[in-house]
Amino acid sequence: MQNMLTIISNALCRITGRNVGAQTVSEGSRVVVSRSFADFTPQATFDIKKCDVHRLEEGPPVKATLTRDQGLQYYRIMQTVRRMELKADQLYKQKIIRGFCHLYDGQEACAAGIEAAINPSDHLITAYRAHGYTYTRGVAIKEILAELTGRKGGVAKGKGGSMHMYAPHFYGGNGIVGAQVPLGAGIALACQYQGNNQVCVTLYGDGAANQGQLFEAFNMAALWKLPCIFICENNKYGMGTSVERASASTDYYKRGDFIPGLRVDGMDVLCVREATQFAADHCRSGKGPIVMELQTYRYHGHSMSDPGVSYRTREEIQEVRSKSDPISLLKDRMLSNNMAAVEEFKEIDIAIRKEVEEAAQYATSDPEPPLEELCNHIFKNDPPLEVRGTHPWATLKSVS
């Protein structure tokens, strides 16, 4: 039985490589049906890395329970983000996406883990490496890719681009480093004021951790006990500068000083989920803000203009890819505990590839926003506002 499955899965691998499409999917499902779902472990408990704590009596649990469905869902989310980012890379190199593009591959466990621990009614704000969060917060892949290519079907109507994507309860997408952190504290204040038991997850990077406005936000959040989870995604490099060369203290989870902190393994989606759950409970119980440092890694350079190898070695990137890749970690865990079959993962991969391909098609063929959009949405105004153009006798209408 095992041999037969291996032979069939090998055949599927070859066929997938040549991308035959619909035919492959039906063959795959034929194989899976022959092995009943009762064969799989429905749930398993895993040991996860203990989190370092700062000003806390105890940290998140060191064991995490994962059901089969959850596992497949996290896998799907992470693989979708991975494929979407790689597709964006491809489109950028074809010059279909232009401008600035900061890719998230390698850090998928952070976005997936955080989303798994919070509710859709909670709030999230991050910096410019935002495509992953845009997806986990509910925006369709085609709207993300169309925003990257600057088309009217994009989530911000093509007017924002890579760094400015938004969704309900997702406040972007912010280009200026560190500027989003006081905003996040403000959103948390609104949650507290409205008494809706929601939290705000405010993300920033290791480079932004040295911006003055962060410390202003920490002080206000702690003073007023705001339900704000400050999360530092430490991917070891602020653009091209390694953390040791930029920060006097690289213990980013302690930088909140009077705010309790957690250091979390950001490559393990379960670790991220448990820590975020812990942090959300802390905030919701009225204890005030908490700082989390997610230790993670990005495979691409800072942006598409950065090859990513002038300040770190290819060996380092390769090592992380082979030993700590978040998607592989989850997949290996599920396979070794008999929670899913190799073919299922293959099927998911194929379906995702197709979805991303279709989204890319849409993003490439959708028309650009009409010229009238240039001046819309500057102010909120009831009769349309007249906007001065490049010379005084040509004005444009601004509708909002």
């Binding site: 932004a208 930029a246 920060s247 001065r388």
Partner: protein, 334 residues
């Protein structure tokens, strides 16, 4: 569009290389000079500081963490204590956290201390202007915000030869200076630049082309657009344009511009920044005060729209040569 001079040993350089050359001259002649900013050590994201750390040491060319307010504040301190501070802000779009330090601390130091202290040794450099794909936060032209602040000087070069001379003038000048470098010209503009140090005077506008019918005023990248506009006007309308590069935005050369308008009677000012409150407004207002009776037509400003710098709409937003040409036509037929 670019000059080729040959009075002294020169070398072919583009804009970022001419900046490196100016900084090299400074570090060599001034033992107190230090260069700092984000990523300047390896050469800078636009390669303006390549080779300087190896040549002059890591105590003179060093990286700062990511904190613009900190960088400028720190620079003011260095300057006040007597060292020549050359701070780099990675993009002019990121200069706003440092706005308070520049406007409230740097600009007013000499005035409020009754000349006991000053931070004249401070020069801030930042890449400026549209670049084709920069979108909202990599394309801004903030010179108008700083023009409103007495106590600092704001300078914008149009080419490598001017850039090196103006930057050396800014460094030598005993006032805090902001030097905006048009990023689209970093590689595109190439000239034969003198290898030794030289200065181009501040607060002196340069007349690039003499004419008799219309005065065109611009700075930075827009000068090159205006050169083409002047050619088009000559060919298609028989209109002779006088082209002036303002070079120093604050304090600006009122005399040269007004003398020119007295001669021609018509003025067109153009910049990428939004038209409302842009620097063209200041020039326009002053010129109509000084030259009211000489004007044949209202002063024309061809500038960016009053919107944030757009992502996909950039080609429609910028004041290109057609919009300027159109403005000239209307002025001539007024």
């Amino acid at each position: 569009h670019f000059a080729f001079t040959s009075q002294c040993p020169t070398q072919k350089m583009n804009l970022f290389q001419s900046v490196t050359s100016a900084l090299d001259n400074t570090l060599a002649s001034d033992p107190t000079a230090v260069i700092f900013g984000e990523d300047v050590a390896f050469g800078g994201v636009f390669r303006c500081t390549v080779g300087l750390r190896d040549k002059y040491g890591k105590d003179r060319v060093f990286n700062t963490p990511l904190c613009e307010q900190g960088i400028v504040g720190f620079g003011i301190g260095v300057a006040v204590a007597g060292a020549t501070a050359i701070a780099e802000i990675q993009f002019a779009d990121y200069i706003y956290p440092a706005f308070d330090q520049i406007v409230n601390e740097a600009a007013k130091y000499r005035y409020r201390s009754g000349n006991l202290f000053d931070c004249g040794n401070l020069t801030i450099r930042a890449p400026w202007g549209c670049v084709g794909h920069g979108s909202l936060y990599h394309s801004q032209s903030p010179e108008a915000f700083f023009a409103h602040c007495p106590g600092i000087k704001v300078v914008i070069p149009r080419s490598p030869v001017q850039a090196k001379g103006l930057l050396l003038s800014c460094i030598a000048d005993q006032n805090p200076c902001i030097f905006f470098e048009p990023k689209i010209l970093y590689r595109a503009a190439v000239e034969q630049v003198p290898v030794e140090a030289y200065t181009v005077p501040l607060s002196q506008a340069e007349i690039l082309q003499e004419g008799s019918d219309v005065t065109l005023v611009a700075w930075g990248t827009q000068i090159h657009v205006m050169r083409e506009v002047a050619n088009m006007a000559q060919e298609k309308l028989g209109v002779s344009c006088e082209l002036i590069d303002l070079q120093t935005i604050l304090p600006w050369d009122v005399e040269t511009v007004c003398k020119s308008v007295v001669k021609t009677g018509r003025l067109l000012i153009s910049h990428e920044a939004p038209v409302t409150g842009g620097f063209a407004a200041e020039i326009s207002s002053t010129v109509q005060e000084e030259c009211f009776l000489n004007l044949e037509a209202p002063i024309s400003r061809v500038c960016g729209y009053d919107t944030p710098f757009p992502h996909i709409f950039e080609p429609f937003y910028i004041p290109d040569k057609w919009k300027c040409f159109d403005a000239i036509k209307r002025m001539i037929n007024y």
